[in-house]
Every structure is written in C-alpha cells, then in structure tokens.
C-alpha cells in the first residue's frame, strides 16, 4: 500500500516536473522551429518564389533536410493563424 502510494507521489512529481520543463522551453522550441523553417526556406526558396542559392547547394543538403521540410510544410499549413499559435505558446488565452 505504502509502496504504491510512494510510486503514485513519484509519478505526480515527475509529471509536474516534466510539465514545467516543457513550459519553460516552449518559447525556445518555437524559436528553434522558426529558425529551421527559415533555413529550409532560404535553401529551397525557389518553391515559394524566393531567390535561391546555387542549385547544387540545395541538392547537396536536400538528403539531410527531412525534419526541416516537415516543419516548412507545418508552418505553411498553420500560417493563416500564426497569431493564435503564438498566443498559445506564450500562454495568452
């Protein structure tokens, strides 16, 4: 009984800790994803009509860009409601 209580308390503390850690890094995560989005946009800008770097540079890095491309697509999908997204991250209801 006591051991299950201890286990239960431990889980609450761990979840509490994880939530706070998540919250503390939310803004940095968003900044990081934005940077990754910018990186992909700069490199593959021709998709969106931007001037692009020499083609072979994009070709050279493309095989390693899976994550960045996913973020680029996600941002393109969410771009109509970026304000709501930012408010959510900052914690404004």
């Amino acid at each position: 009984m006591i051991s299950s209580m201890v286990h239960w308390v431990r889980r609450i503390v761990a979840d509490f800790d994880a939530t706070h850690r998540e919250k503390a890094t939310a803004l940095t995560v968003m900044e990081m994803e934005e940077l990754e989005n910018i990186f992909a946009l700069l490199l593959l800008g021709s998709f969106a009509g931007f001037p692009s770097p020499p083609t072979f540079l994009a070709v050279e890095l493309l095989p390693y860009m899976e994550r960045e491309l996913q973020i680029l697509c996600k941002r393109a999908k969410d771009c109509n409601d970026m304000l709501a997204e930012m408010c959510g991250t900052i914690g404004i209801d």
Partner: protein, 310 residues
C-alpha cells in the same frame, strides 16, 4: 604549379592562343591543356581526336577535353545515390527512381565546370603549367563567380545552423528526455550532418578561391581588333575586377595590316581599363584560311613573352 585561364568572346581565338601558349611552354616545362568549352576544338587545333581522358601529345604536353554532360551526369548520379540511401524504404515500392528527375536541375553545368577545375588542379601534381581554354565570357564569368556566391550562401546558412544547434542544446539541457521513444535532435556541431556538409563545402571553396586569386593563377584575355570584341572585353575586365581575379595578359589576336589603326584604337581603350597588364599582339594567320597546315598551334609570336608569372 601555375594555372592559366584563356578567356574572351566566342570566336576570338582562345583555343588557338591557349594551344599555342601550351605548345611554347611545353618546350621547357611539363604542360597540361584542358578545354572546358562545351564546343570543343582543342583536338582540331592539335589535329588529334580527344576524349574525356588526358592524352599525351608530346613527352611534356598533355591534352584533355572535358565532357561537361558526362561530368553533370556523374555528379547527379552521386547525389541521387545519397538520396536513395536516405530514402531506402522507397525502394520497396519502386519509387526511388523518381529522384532521377534531379538531372534537370539548372545551374549544374557551372558547378560541374568548377569541380572539374578543382579536380584537375588537385590531381595533376607533376605538371608545371595547366592551361584552361574556357567557354565564352558569359559562362566563364558565371563559373568563376560561383565560389564567392556559394561561400556567401554557405556562410549565412552555417550561421543559422549554429543558432539552431545552440537552441537545441538549450532545450536539451532544460527539458532533457521526457519520453524513451523521443528522438534526440543533434545539438553538437560534429553530430549535425547538415553543418558537417556545409563545413566540407566551405573548405573546398575556400581552397579553390585561394588558388584562383593566388599568385600562381592568371587570366589571359583574348580579343580581336573589332568593336564587338572590345565591348565584351570591357565587360570581362570589369567582371574579373569585381571577382578580384588576376588578369595577367591581354592578347590582341587576328591583327591584319590593313586594320592596324583599329587594332591601335582597341588596344588604347583596353589599356586604359587595365593599365598594368601587358598586351601581346598576334597577327592574323594565313594558315587558318588555307586549311592545309595542321600545326595551327605553332605560331610565330612568343605569346607569353610579355609577362612572366612570378
């Protein structure tokens, strides 16, 4: 090793002048002449059939025509291989072949040319002089500008990448790993594939640009005594100055006695644009007209006499 690039408008005699220079240099040095022009005529000048490989002409003179299409194909094959390795799972449903569309990427030609120069300079250690016969002005300026354009982009991209890794590190330190199944994003410079690739590319381009701007490299501008050639030469001189590439010699080619006044005028204009660069005059060769003489590379003037590469 000294490197010479012969540039100029199409048809001014770049191939003949570069071939003649290579021939004259080969009397005392080991020389390799490489044609980068997609419309090759180096083999015609020397009266031999050349392929993509280096060919011996004399004991001290080697000839090579670069097959641009083959180079592009080889480069893209390498890239497509990386793609198919990364997306190996697509092989199971036979979709990997769709990456072959990459071979239609624009701008690959300039890159292939530059890679060919870099490989030649790197591999030919026992050669004293490498003479490059380049394509006409537009393409030449584009591929010579490529290292600087690319390095500017690489520099900016590396900066952003470092910022991303720094943020990833901060997040990792605060947040840690919350779930066993979570993928840890690389935050160390040595673990990030993109930054590693950018660093390698940057190193290659820095080495190449220091070769191109160095004392052992020289650009030779060939022109004719006519207005069109003069105008294009002006653009080329401006372009080379912008790229900080060393123009070492000017060759006024195909001068005929009846047009000496025009040749003088063209020389005076060119001289005002590049006062420190010596001018060599080469007379119009009658051999070009009769088509009988196969030794087109053996001309009377000593082409590289006005300048000596220190």
């Amino acid at each position: 090793m000294k490197i010479l690039f012969f540039t100029g408008k199409g048809g001014v005699g770049k191939s003949t002048m570069s071939a003649a220079s290579a021939w004259q240099l080969s009397q005392n040095h080991r020389v390799l002449i490489v044609s980068l022009d997609p419309a090759h005529n180096l083999g015609d000048v020397f009266g031999v059939v050349l392929n993509h490989k280096k060919q011996r002409f004399t004991d001290s003179l080697y000839l090579k025509e670069v097959n641009l299409q083959k180079l592009c194909r080889e480069y893209l094959q390498r890239e497509i291989r990386v793609f198919t390795d990364t997306y190996r799972y697509l092989q199971t449903i036979n979709l990997d072949s769709y990456f072959s569309v990459l071979k239609y990427s624009p701008g690959i030609e300039e890159y292939a040319l530059l890679t060919s120069i870099e490989e030649t300079v790197r591999s030919e250690k026992d050669i004293d002089y490498i003479v490059f016969d380049t394509p006409p002005t537009g393409l030449t300026l584009r591929f010579l500008a490529l290292p600087w354009i690319t390095m500017t982009w690489i520099d900016r991209l590396m900066q952003i990448r470092r910022d991303i890794l720094e943020k990833r590190h901060t997040i990792y330190r605060i947040r840690g790993i919350l779930d066993d199944k979570e993928t840890i994003l690389s935050y160390d410079e040595n673990d990030d594939d993109i930054l590693k690739r950018l660093k390698t590319l940057n190193g290659n381009y820095q080495a190449l640009s220091s070769i191109l701007q160095g004392n052992d490299c020289g650009i030779v501008l060939v022109y004719n005594p006519d207005t069109l050639s003069l105008k294009e030469s002006k653009r080329l001189i401006d372009g080379l100055r912008e790229l900080k590439l060393p123009l070492r010699l000017l060759i006024n080619n195909k001068i005929q006695k009846k047009y000496t006044a025009m040749a003088d005028h063209v020389d005076s204009v060119i001289k005002s644009l590049a006062p420190a660069v010596p001018i060599q005059r080469v007379a119009f060769s009658e051999h070009l007209l009769d088509g009988q003489n196969s030794t087109l590379y053996d001309i009377e003037e000593t082409i590289l006499s006005p300048f000596e590469m220190k």
